[in-house]
Amino acid sequence: MAKEEFAIAIHGGAGTILKKNMTPAKQKKYEQTLLKAVNTGYALLEQGKTSQEAVIAAIQILEESPLFNAGKGAVYTFDGHHELDASIMDGRTLNAGAVSGVKTVKSPIALAEKVMEESVHVMLSGEGAEQFAKEKGLALVDNSYFNTEARYKALQRAKKKLAEKERELKDFQAAHETLPNNYKYG
């Protein structure tokens, strides 16, 4: 019998992850969360579940961790809030679902899946996406649910850099261009 092929890969973001900032204890936390997410998805595949179920389950574990810039660990906007985006695509039907700029949806990937499966659209944004989430009974939270100390400090550092550069360059866009790459990453 042909060997059953199934597999999963996950990521928690790329960027200027500097070894000097990564203590062994911190690195272990990241690796343990990645391991939990990939094994959760793998177990579903091994049980014969769909790749869609595996992708959603793995991403929701990372959305619920404050370590990664998604869901619970989302970064702050310039105004001190959180705006989240997500998307999903089915390779068999080429159907897809996506949401952008949502503020009160606990699991953005779950909403993207609803858009894919229960709407005639591919992408919903902002208040419309929130309305759709409410109608579909998804878990909604206050925007402050996504607050974390570490990300708030990152926002303060970014705004300080931006203010310095904006004074010098007299232009926000130009100042933003000068920010180190890690401020430009999703």
């Binding site: 092929e5 199934f6 597999a7 999963i8 890969a9 996950i10 990521h11 928690g12 790329a14 960027g15 200027t16 992850i17 990241y30 990645l34 391991l35 094994n39 998805g41 595949l45 769909t50 790749s51 869609q52 992708v55 959603i56 991403i59 990372l62 959305e63 990664f68 810039n69 989302a74 970064v75 702050y76 906007t77 310039f78 959180h82 705006e83 989240l84 985006d85 997500a86 998307s87 999903i88 695509m89 390779g91 068999r92 080429l94 897809a96 996506a98 952008s100 700029g101 990937i109 993207a112 992408m123 944004s125 990300r151 970014a158 926000f172 933003h176 790459n181 430009k184 990453y185 999703g186």
Partner: protein, 134 residues
Amino acid sequence: TVGAVALDKSGNLTAGTSTGGMTAKRWGRVGDAPIIGAGTYANNASCAVSATGHGEYFIRYHVAADICARMQYQGISLNAAANKVVNDVLVEAGGNGGVIAIDSQGNISMPFNSAGMYRASRSAGQAPYVAIFK
């Protein structure tokens, strides 16, 4: 940004991405994560991709769909297509970041041109692989 790509026992591929966006973003700025073809793409005829990095570049170079298209139309391997886009095209353009990708044979490729990428993978019957740096 976080993402996952998977191949199931029925041979179907799925890709998903979720993000909190960019620190200090203004004016409702949206990056590649929710843009199908840029940060997320899946096609059983080629591969499934989830991306992370400097969103504006991943949108302009439609990175996720480009990797799958190169496989489908040039007949090159997943690894060749993913590395060409991430380590040639994007580097040339000045776009930092990386992708995770899987094809319908279960091959996995996770190239990145930044200092690090949080990533993990697991294939049928094998132990999990977890890494952060090169």
